[in-house]
């Protein structure tokens, strides 16, 4: 990696969870809930990045590749339909090359009113080791590709396969993107210190990500559903003091499996009915936070 390493990323100051300014979400809601489907494309035979292998097995990794392909053939629609049925739009972390490979999937999200941000070109191309020009190239490619496919100007970034360089956040802010999903230090929107522009950190989640639920914590589908409900109940209660954010990060090939989507749909039904949730897209949450905090960035 370039330059000297720091012990602290120096992206934000410490701010204790008590005594903060009060955020109130539209309609007096206490927790802003956003759903973040990862619409991804994994290449079957990607070039090697010197810092990380794409597939742990020899290519073709049949199970690895085809499991993820399940999203684009089968489970995307199952997951999306459950979300639409209960009034949850998606804020999509998009492997932007999906716009070329399977435009039908991207069009489906766009038709449902979903917001798109970039999750890199492919989830099999990592930022590790890129120089500044290369990193600029993937940001510019992302902006251009999503605009051509959906008409939307991307506002956010979730690094491809969560791979970064120390300059990533400065660069996306320079290009006018205004939120990152890569920092997990808070349950409220927070300002990020960048060289130019404005950047907000919107809470995403590793812990209630379906990938962590099913493949790190090995939860059953009903146990994962219960986890989401507990996460919601606590954040909705705490949000009475100052509005919180709950993100539900998803991968259709996991949550859209037939044994999981039923329990998941019951979670959406519960949150939609509860009355304390402001169900929104990522950009709307960032806007509402800026409006109240007068965030100067």
């Amino acid at each position: 990696m370039d330059g000297a390493r720091k012990a602290d990323p120096e992206l934000y100051d410490f701010q204790a969870y008590r005594g903060r300014p009060k955020i109130v979400w539209p309609g007096g809601k206490t927790v802003a809930v956003w759903v973040a489907p990862n619409l991804e494309y994994y290449e079957i035979d990607p070039p090697a990045n010197p810092f990380r292998k794409s597939w742990t097995k020899p290519h073709p990794d049949v199970v690895g590749y085809s499991h993820r392909d399940h999203s684009n053939r089968v489970s995307h629609w199952r997951m999306a339909e459950a979300m639409s049925k209960h009034g949850f739009p998606g804020s999509v972390s998009l492997s932007v090359a999906l716009c070329q490979h399977h435009p039908e999937v991207v069009e489906d999200g766009a038709k449902r009113g979903w917001e798109f941000f970039s999750h890199g070109i492919y989830n099999t191309r990592y930022t590790y080791g890129m120089d500044e020009a290369q990193e600029r190239a993937i940001i510019e490619d992302s902006i251009r590709t999503v605009a051509a496919a959906t008409g939307q100007k991307i506002r956010g970034w979730l690094a491809p396969a969560l791979t970064h360089t120390p300059r990533t956040l400065d660069l996306i802010a320079e290009y006018g993107l205004d939120y990152t999903c890569d920092l997990y230090h808070d349950d409220q929107v927070q300002a990020v210190k960048v060289k130019s522009g404005k950047l907000a950190s919107i809470p995403y989640s590793l812990e209630v990500n379906d990938h962590y639920g099913f493949f790190i914590y090995n939860m059953s589908p009903r146990a994962y559903a219960d986890t989401l409900l507990r996460q919601f109940d606590r954040l909705a209660a705490e949000g009475a003091a100052s509005g919180t954010v709950m993100c539900i990060p998803l991968h259709a090939y996991l949550i859209g499996q037939p044994h999981r989507v039923g329990p998941f749909e019951r979670v959406l039904e519960h949150i939609a009915r509860d009355g304390r949730a402001w169900i929104a897209r990522a950009g709307e949450i960032v806007d509402a936070w800026r409006l109240q905090t007068g965030d100067a960035g």
């Binding site: 097995k57 020899p58 629609w77 999937v105 044994h259």
Partner: protein, 306 residues
């Protein structure tokens, strides 16, 4: 530093896939599939019947479930043999009790070593599909094409000799293939393979081979051994899956639920009861059609043609 400039080139960034193995299509946009007798959800039970040699091979890779301790690993060898000697018969009885027919994905070595098992499977009307030579017969890129061709041929011939029928289906160990596998399976006369988990109904490769997806996420190995959940939870998850698929079938046509079970995992005395309960509950569901893989492929072909 910077990456090699080719790392930011994407020669296969194009409509469809970055390979030519099979075309893209969304399940929900396909012509609705009709199963026989108006059934809505085909339940495909596939039992893995495997022989793990005491001397494991690590090329191209060691099979999941293989020997783990220094030689001689009697512990794992005999625990898997328990599944074949005892557990498998518990499963056969459970299938008879529930009145269901299944696929048995057998290593060729099972036919050579234990002909009685092959006879008992045939007598019960179940289908045998090919599951490599033995659990040292793993496939991955790097395996020489001639060696892979020989492995596939030997498996098919061994099972054909034992049963009198050429197996129509192929399941790779750990569902792992090389780039050559689909063509070699087609060349060897197989109708279908079960390795790719990207779909929930049969579909065709570009070479004409059919893939019948055996969802690894719904297997006892994944749910019980890898994710460490109980047999009761496994049963609950399969019923949740069935009920969801039955709901989809009302709108989109026939659906399929693959149950991949392993004698040394599911057929232990403390788990088999939960599995029997599951089979009973599934059999009682309206619309449930238990069928071996070959029958599901045939019904799919007929529905496609009709």
């Amino acid at each position: 530093m910077s990456l090699d400039p080719t790392y930011l080139e994407y020669p296969k960034r194009r409509r469809g896939y970055d390979h030519d193995l099979y075309p893209w299509s969304a399940l929900r946009d396909r012509k609705p599939v009709r199963w026989p007798d108006g059934k809505t959800v085909a339940i495909w039970v596939c039992v893995d019947l495997e022989w793990f040699p005491l001397d494991p091979a690590d090329k191209p890779f060691r099979a999941p479930g293989h020997m783990q301790t220094p030689y001689p690993d009697y512990r794992h060898y005999t625990a898997r043999e328990y599944g074949t000697r005892v557990g498998f018969y518990r499963l056969l009885d459970a299938f008879a009790k529930a009145g269901v027919t299944v696929s048995v994905a057998a290593n060729g070595a099972i036919a050579e070593r234990y002909p009685q098992i092959i006879a008992d499977i045939g007598a019960a009307g179940h289908e045998i599909i090919a599951h490599s030579t033995d659990m040292n017969g793993t496939i991955a890129s790097g395996l020489a094409e001639a060696d892979e061709r020989a492995l596939i041929a030997k498996t098919a011939q061994t099972l054909e000799k034992a049963t009198g029928v050429r197996p129509r289906g192929w399941l790779s160990i750990a569902r792992s293939q090389s780039w050559n596998t689909p063509n070699l399976l087609k060349e060897a006369g197989f109708t279908y393979c079960c390795d790719w988990v990207n779909d929930e109904l049969p579909y065709r490769f570009n070479n004409g081979l059919i893939n019948l997806p055996l969802n690894h996420e719904l297997s006892d190995r994944q749910i019980i051994t890898v994710q460490q959940q109980s047999a009761d939870s496994y049963g609950e998850q399969m019923l949740d899956a069935f009920d969801w698929l039955a709901g989809e079938a009302k709108t989109y046509g026939g659906r399929m639920l693959p149950l991949n079970v392993t004698p040394y995992i599911m057929a232990l005395p403390y788990r088999i009861g939960a599995f029997e309960t599951l089979l009973g509950a599934l059999a009682a569901r309206p619309g449930a059609w238990f069928a071996p893989g070959g029958a599901i492929v045939d019904a799919w072909l007929k529905s496609e043609a009709g």
